[in-house]
């Protein structure tokens, strides 16, 4: 029983990371109707930036905040410089651009920081009061941080004029222009926010997975499974999906398939959702009249 509870809690910790990345994926998806394959690599690069900042002697939480800001600016810049010129291009071109981004960021990280696996510090001391036999301090802290990030994002979208404008743009860009919203900047802002959310997830993931340029590969896959499970067009569905996938993956890894082929759980979920309920648990079914 203790073992099972332990698996569930650490599943929730990792699920929080998946949930954050899934939310970032959905935010981009709502604006572009495409999955940003480079989301994981952007988060990985952000984590390297955090690692450098900490290496230069900055306190962890200062580095954390600074990394969020840098990632936000980076995401904004990527949208303005790389994505915007192809926004009216055919779907395949944009997909290729996203994959190109993935490869470029991955190689850049490799070239700058090398491919060797490096440890990344956890801000949560290993003897903290919130750690016990079910859950390690880092896992508990990670859940708190991801929940905090998700809550902030919720408050932003629900209660601020800017958040309302961004929701409007995701829903109806034409009408948004007609009320004077600068749609181009809202899209860029969405990329910035997604990059910052991903960065927080990356920094929470790195102490568990260790930092290397391929760190986010499997995380992105699980997050995508989570986003699909919750409904790729529903941000809060994606969050729930991310947590669910984290728990499922951990339990399956411990009791069903073993850790070696745990990644196949993500693929089973992806295929299963697409076959059984393509709109996901909370997604909207698109019906087109013919």
């Amino acid at each position: 029983m203790t073992a099972l509870l332990h698996q569930i809690f650490s599943g929730l910790a990792i699920g929080g990371i998946y949930a954050s990345v899934a939310l970032a994926l959905v935010m981009i998806y709502q604006a572009t109707h495409l999955v940003n394959f480079a989301q994981g690599e952007m988060a990985m690069f952000s984590t390297y930036i955090a690692s450098s900042l900490i290496g230069w002697g900055l306190p962890y939480w200062v580095a954390f905040g600074l990394t969020l800001a840098i990632s936000f600016a980076g995401g904004l810049a990527i949208q303005r410089i790389v994505v915007r010129p192809v926004q009216d291009a055919p779907v395949l071109s944009v997909v290729i651009v996203f994959i190109g981004l993935l490869v470029i960021i991955n190689s850049m990280a490799g070239a700058i920081y090398s491919y060797t696996i490096t440890p990344f510090p956890s801000p949560f001391p290993s003897n903290a009061w919130y750690g016990n036999s079910f859950i390690s301090p880092h896992e508990a802290g990670s859940i708190m941080v991801t929940m905090g990030v998700l809550a902030l994002v919720y408050v932003f979208f629900r209660f601020t004029p800017l958040g309302l404008a961004m929701r409007a743009v995701a829903q109806n860009p034409v009408s948004s222009r007609l009320v004077g919203i600068r749609v181009g900047w809202m899209l860029a802002l969405g990329w910035g926010l997604a990059a910052a959310i991903g960065a927080a997830a990356g920094m929470m993931a790195a102490p568990i997975f260790y930092l290397d340029p391929n760190m986010m590969g499997s995380i992105l896959l699980y997050s995508f499974a989570g986003a699909l499970l919750g409904g790729i067009d529903n941000p809060w569905g994606a969050v729930i999906g991310g947590f669910t996938v984290g728990v499922l993956e951990n339990i399956a890894g411990a009791y069903l398939v073993g850790t070696e082929i745990k990644l196949s759980v993500a693929l089973v979920i992806i295929v299963g959702v697409l076959v059984a309920k393509p709109s996901g648990l909370f997604g909207r079914r698109l019906v087109s009249r013919v």
């Binding site: 004029p161 309302l164 109806n172 034409v174 009408s175 222009r177 007609l178 009320v179 919203i181 749609v183």
Partner: protein, 237 residues
């Protein structure tokens, strides 16, 4: 009267295909101008061209400012509110959120609050339904919401694309009555596209008749109504 909006030789394109072939048009400050014409004459395109939603050429001025080179957002920020065909409400957002978005570009909170009261005064149904998702409203209520959202911009010019489309005659009558009241009380000029030529001419001071992308006739609403050809083709008696 001074022209609030003035277009000279306005051309508009969908991709490479020209839809307007050089239209001259004036909308008087404080007046209501109707655009009549058959399906495909270019009425909707003309409204879209004013708001830079389609590629356009030719001279176009609003409140003594040239609109060339401005994007949709910038034209809107000058005080042009467009109620598009299909209404363009944000279906998943509440009525109140839709109205808040209408006032997105305005900073003055007291004025915005007053305008909330004002549009709820014109359309009490919207106040009752302000927490409801816009997509769950009836067609008439959605049209009321679309007009109200446009008013929340505190516009100088209101562009209305077929406000009667798909609505019951009684609802249409109601909406036209309120449009007239808005024009008188708020001094909002209007350019209105209508299939329903009779109601449009009742409402408007001036009218233009569009045929295949050209303005073939213009004049006071009364004169247009009396025209033999217009009567037979568009008024049906």
């Amino acid at each position: 009267m001074a022209a609030l909006l003035e277009a000279r030789g306005l051309k508009a394109y969908y991709g490479p295909i020209p839809v307007l072939h050089g239209v001259d048009l004036e909308v008087e400050a404080g007046g209501i101008t109707a655009l009549l014409g058959a399906n495909g004459a270019g009425k909707t395109t003309l409204l879209r061209a004013i708001c830079a939603m389609v590629r356009r050429e030719g001279e176009i001025r609003f409140a003594d400012r040239a609109l060339e080179g401005l994007g949709t957002e910038d034209v809107v920020r000058l005080g042009v509110a467009h109620v598009p065909d299909g209404r363009g409400t944000f279906a998943d957002l509440t009525v109140e959120e839709n109205l808040r978005l209408g006032a997105y570009t305005r900073g003055d909170r007291t004025r915005v609050a007053q305008d909330f009261e004002r549009v709820y005064g014109y359309f009490p149904r919207l106040r009752e339904r302000r927490r409801q998702q816009a997509g769950t409203l009836s067609g008439g209520e959605q049209q009321m919401l679309a007009i109200s959202r446009a008013l929340m911009l505190a516009p100088k010019l209101l562009l209305l694309d077929e406000p009667s489309f798909g609505l019951a005659p009684l609802v249409v009558k109601d909406i036209f009555r309120i449009l007239r009241a808005i024009n008188r009380e708020q001094r909002v000029s209007m350019l209105i596209v209508e299939q329903n030529a009779t109601s449009a001419l009742d409402l408007a001071d001036r009218a233009y008749l569009l045929e295949t992308g050209r303005a073939v006739m213009s004049g006071s609403a009364a004169a247009i109504r009396c025209d033999e050809a217009v009567r037979r083709s568009y008024l049906g008696y």
